[in-house]
Symmetry: C2
Subunit: 146 residues, 2 copies
DNA sequence: TTTTAATGTAATTCTTGATGTTGCAGCAGA
DNA sequence: TCTGCTGCAACATCAAGAATTACATTAAAA
């Protein structure tokens, strides 16, 4: 099972917002055009990013802006804002293992710390990348195209 | 979005198979009893583990057995056998970003290596845990219960 | 050889979540 | 007031996970 595209869409949004901030007003319609999806999808994601305190969204007039310097917004911040994990756990268990079976009643005790370590390994790697990396990476790619 | 319970069910299966290998024949019905699910669910997972070469399943007579020493079967081996990832990628993109937009046509070039690094961080941590860790951990937990 | 107990697998249903779409109320600046 | 945009509810669609039933196939034991 893959992680939903909303996460990469959110990163796409941040990249666009920075790349075009001087030339266009960044609206949900504008972003939907670059990503090629529906503006309402964008607004839902913007709403999540706003709730997480990562951006401000100007109601009425339109336009979005990050609340912090781009090098302070990590991939993990975006991931956390976007991906709703039940109890914060990446891994799912089957519900109601058999308590009569010694394995069934101990399976959580046996696995929880190991699965958490695996999850943390991923989340910590996410903290090594920031939106500013996307901004500078985008600049390089644009320069190559000319 | 969470990783499906089939992964933790597979780990549960390995743990049970070892814990009861001397006292019971390990059938899909027996395992379904401990996990509290349907035998067909178990058989599908067993089928995946067999295809990956991690276990043998005795047709007709029933019973399963690992093909390797337990310390040589890592969580990653099980994960890889169980989780069908499109193109091997953990992260999803929205299809068809706008090629007219410089961000849209470069979003993959911009993100692919970073997302791969995050995925690898998780997968490498998975390689640090083996089925043998579950066997010994289960022994300790059982000892405590008495 | 027949019986028996398993596996292998197809077909179906149910549920949930991601995604897409329409419609409209609310807001703020021109 | 008019215009353009956000916020949000209400659906529709689709795919995947999970559960269940049914049945053919297999291999050992009786």
């Amino acid at each position: 099972m893959q992680i939903s595209s909303r996460f990469t869409v959110a990163l796409h949004i941040f990249t666009c917002a920075d790349a075009f901030k001087d030339d266009y007003k960044i609206t949900s319609d504008f972003l939907a055009g670059s990503i090629n999806t529906n503006p309402v999808i964008i607004r839902k994601i913007l709403s999540q990013l706003k709730k997480a305190g990562l951006i401000t969204v100007a109601r009425g007039t339109g336009g979005i802006a990050p609340t912090k310097p781009l090098e302070e917004i990590t991939f993990y911040d975006v991931y956390e804002a976007i991906e709703p994990l039940e109890n914060g756990d990446l891994f799912n268990f089957h519900t109601d293992p058999n308590p009569q079976c010694p394995v069934g009643r101990n399976i959580h005790a046996l696995l929880d710390d190991k699965l958490k370590a695996i999850q943390l390994a991923m989340e910590n790697e996410m903290k090594n990348y920031t939106i500013d990396d996307l901004r500078s990476g985008m600049q390089e790619l644009s320069a190559k195209e000319i």
